[in-house]
């Protein structure tokens, strides 16, 4: 069953259109991350779902209802804001019970709901405190408590972890995901952090400039990005890109960069030969092959060991690339070496359109 559905949703501020016909569906109970760089329209879209921004055209459905013209309170949603938006003059319990109070729920019932949500989130000892007496993580948890106490149809999260330090962010990431799994409530989660999106979501919607670039499961986006933008946005460190032209000779197919470096490629059908492409490989898919005469010659420009892995910055002709090695290496800046990559891990994109090129490999 579809819990939330957007159909050609557009948004304009006066004559400026910022959302250009966004469409996607979210299944009941799914955790969906809206991800994209700053200014891509993900927060605006979330606010449109919440009813805090009007919809210029198109349709937003929550369950079976079109909610375009419904006020936020009638949409059966709960929202967790970036700065939590806790009422500073109300205690944790009052904050959590506010929405129920506004709906005229009896005080004893509110108390029971709040107690249950507080129990789930480990907030029971904090119910009498004011937000200023809480740490960042606790405030975050209260904001979630306020959202779950109403048992809504959809949770909306607007970059809720961006105010926390790195360690707490990782921990809260797990907590939010665990909570969502337990409650099975459809969740839309806005973030600019693709790691957050990858680790938490069942489905990711990648956005850019008010358009959906790709919708899919996290690993599908990682393995088969639809275009250069998604390929560059998903994955950290980012995918390496080099522009060149597809060529073929007796030694097999290859991409030749503008400065003449030959990059490997699966055997390519003749019609694609001569096509200008962007050759892309993820840093972790390279391997060192110093002794392999047909591997790509590189010059090391930087080495960053992190303990568990080593990031090596290299120069391939005029292009810069990053290589992520699991093993420790004796490479130093200035060293010449060679790297290799399995042809099946190479991504090709049309240089003109940026779209993925699916070239059927010759057997």
């Amino acid at each position: 069953m579809t819990a939330l559905s957007l159909d050609r949703v557009r948004k304009s501020f006066r004559s400026l259109e910022v959302m250009h016909g966004v469409s996607f569906d979210i299944e009941d109970g799914a955790f969906v991350a809206l991800v994209g760089p700053s200014g891509c329209g993900k927060s605006t879209l979330l606010r449109m779902i919440a009813g805090l921004e009007t919809v210029t055209s198109g349709e937003i459905r929550i369950g079976e209802r079109v909610v375009n013209d419904l006020p936020p309170k009638d949409r059966d949603i709960s929202m967790v804001f970036q700065n939590y938006a806790l009422y500073p003059h109300k205690t944790v319990a009052e904050n959590m019970g506010f929405a129920l109070k506004m709906r005229g729920v009896a005080a004893t019932e509110i108390e029971a709901h709040v107690a249950r949500a507080a129990d789930i989130l480990g907030l029971t000892p904090l119910l009498g405190r004011f937000p200023r007496e809480l740490s960042g993580g606790q405030r975050q948890r209260v904001a979630m408590g306020r959202a779950i106490v109403r048992d809504p149809q959809v949770f909306l999260f607007d970059e809720p972890l961006s105010n926390l330090d790195a360690k707490l962010r990782v921990q809260m990431r797990g907590e939010i995901k665990a909570l969502q799994r337990r409650l099975c409530t459809t969740t839309v989660y806005v973030t600019h952090d693709q790691i957050e999106a990858m680790t938490m979501a069942d489905k990711i919607v990648v956005m850019r400039d008010g358009r959906v670039e790709q919708v899919g499961r996290p690993l599908d986006l990682y393995d088969r990005p639809d275009n250069l933008f998604v390929a560059g946005f998903i994955g950290s460190p980012a995918m390496n890109f080099v522009a060149g032209r597809i060529g073929a000779d007796d030694a097999g197919s290859h991409v030749t960069t503008d400065d003449g470096v030959r990059l490997p490629l699966s055997r390519t059908p003749a019609p694609f030969v001569g096509h200008r492409v962007v050759w892309g490989v993820r840093p972790e898919h390279f391997a060192l092959a110093a002794a392999d005469p047909v591997a790509i010659p590189v010059t090391v420009t930087g080495v960053e060991p992190t303990g568990s892995e080593t990031l090596v910055a290299v120069r391939v002709g005029a292009a810069s690339m990053t290589v992520l090695l699991r093993d420790r290496t004796g490479l130093n800046v200035g060293d010449a070496s060679r790297i290799t990559v399995s042809p099946r891990l190479i991504h090709l994109f049309d240089e003109a359109t940026g779209d993925r090129l699916d070239i059927p490999p010759l057997s």
């Binding site: 819990a3 009941d28 109970g29 919440a50 009813g51 805090l52 006020p71 936020p72 309170k73 949603i77 709960s78 929202m79 804001f81 970036q82 700065n83 938006a85 009422y87 500073p88 003059h89 109300k90 506010f98 929405a99 506004m102 709906r103 709901h113 249950r116 949500a117 129990d119 789930i120 989130l121 480990g122 405190r129 004011f130 007496e133 809480l134 740490s135 960042g136 993580g137 606790q138 948890r141 306020r146 779950i148 106490v149 048992d151 809504p152 149809q153 707490l168 921990q171 907590e175 665990a178 909570l179 337990r182 409650l183 099975c184 409530t185 459809t186």
Partner: protein, 318 residues
């Protein structure tokens, strides 16, 4: 779908409890340890000298003066609390006290909702917002004397435009300033006109500091505009509200210029407040000793008012 109601009771154990304890409020040591620091003393000395000269010494001098019979500025004889006894047993004193109460309360009752309403209105996207804001602030830039003279002309019983207008509408000529009751009412209205901008701007500044997210969150929570006013706006501006209330109450209670210039405390003492009483006793009757006693009483009332406000309006938990 399932939700909170039918979810299994699994507790998420917060792992950041260690870091997440409530901030411990550091208590100041009492009694404070006194340590002479020549450099620090040097830095605060000018401030102490100024405060002493303009605040502490005059109060002290007034206290001494209030215990004497005076002839003009000269102390003639020590009379103990005679000046206070005389004040408390005079009918004029109680009349002035009641007038001060009516003037202060009447003005507050009108100014507070007016300025709050205007602040909320100006916070929104009203048309011609900057022009509207300028017009709203206009009365503030006029001195109390100019305001008094302007309104004295507007309300003049013989040629005042407002008197004329009212006569056209009511069919009889109202005595805005020549009847004790209507003079007090007029005075309150003029005072409201002269003093609402200050309160409006302070409240507007406070309203504008409220994060928009709080309103949006409340909207999602189902709060209508009235609930948002009661549960967000008013509690959030409470500290500024307290400052405004104290400031206005003291301003009204101690006001001399506007009242003295517009009505002179009359007619028949109908608008004579305690503060005007100090002025008249000291500089019309030249009884500085009694004037000082009255001034001290006003000071005590001022302190009492401030204390009551702070006690009753202090934000919860502080």
């Amino acid at each position: 779908m399932s939700g909170l109601a039918d979810s299994p009771s699994v507790q998420i154990v917060p792992a950041d409890e260690g870091a997440a304890r409530a901030p411990v409020r550091r208590r100041r040591r009492w009694p404070p340890t006194l340590r002479f620091d020549p450099m620090a003393t040097l830095f605060i000395a000018p401030a102490i000298v100024i405060v002493f000269l303009v605040s502490i010494y005059p109060v002290f001098d007034a206290a001494v003066l209030s215990l004497h019979r005076t002839a003009y500025a000269q102390k003639v004889a020590f009379v103990g609390l005679d000046n206070f006894v005389a004040l408390f047993s005079a009918r004029g004193f109680w009349n002035s006290a009641v007038n001060a109460l009516i003037f202060t309360t009447g003005s507050l009752v009108l100014v507070v909702p007016l300025s709050l309403g205007l602040a909320l209105l100006l916070d929104r996207n009203v048309p011609f917002r900057s022009v509207t804001r300028t017009v709203v602030v206009l009365p503030w830039v006029m001195s109390q004397t100019v305001v008094a003279l302007l309104w004295a002309w507007l309300l003049n019983g013989d040629f005042g435009p407002l008197t004329f207008l009212a006569e056209q509408m009511l069919g009889h000529r109202p005595a805005f300033l020549s009847d004790p009751t209507s003079a007090m009412a007029s005075l309150v209205v003029v005072n409201v006109w002269a003093s609402y901008p200050q309160a409006t701007l302070l409240l507007l500044a406070a309203v504008q500091t409220i994060p928009q997210e709080l309103y949006e969150s409340a909207e999602v929570d189902g709060a209508g505009w009235r609930a948002r006013l009661v549960h967000i706006t008013l509690p959030m501006i409470k500290p500024t509200f307290l400052v405004v209330l104290i400031q206005l109450t003291l301003l009204y209670f101690n006001m001399v210029t506007l009242i003295y210039t517009l009505t002179g405390g009359g007619p028949l003492g109908g608008t004579e407040t305690l503060a005007v009483g100090v002025m008249k006793t000291s500089f019309e009757d030249w009884n500085l000793g009694r004037g000082a006693a009255l001034g001290l009483i006003i000071t005590a009332v001022n302190l009492l008012i401030s204390l009551v406000y702070v006690k009753t309006l202090r934000p919860a938990g502080k």
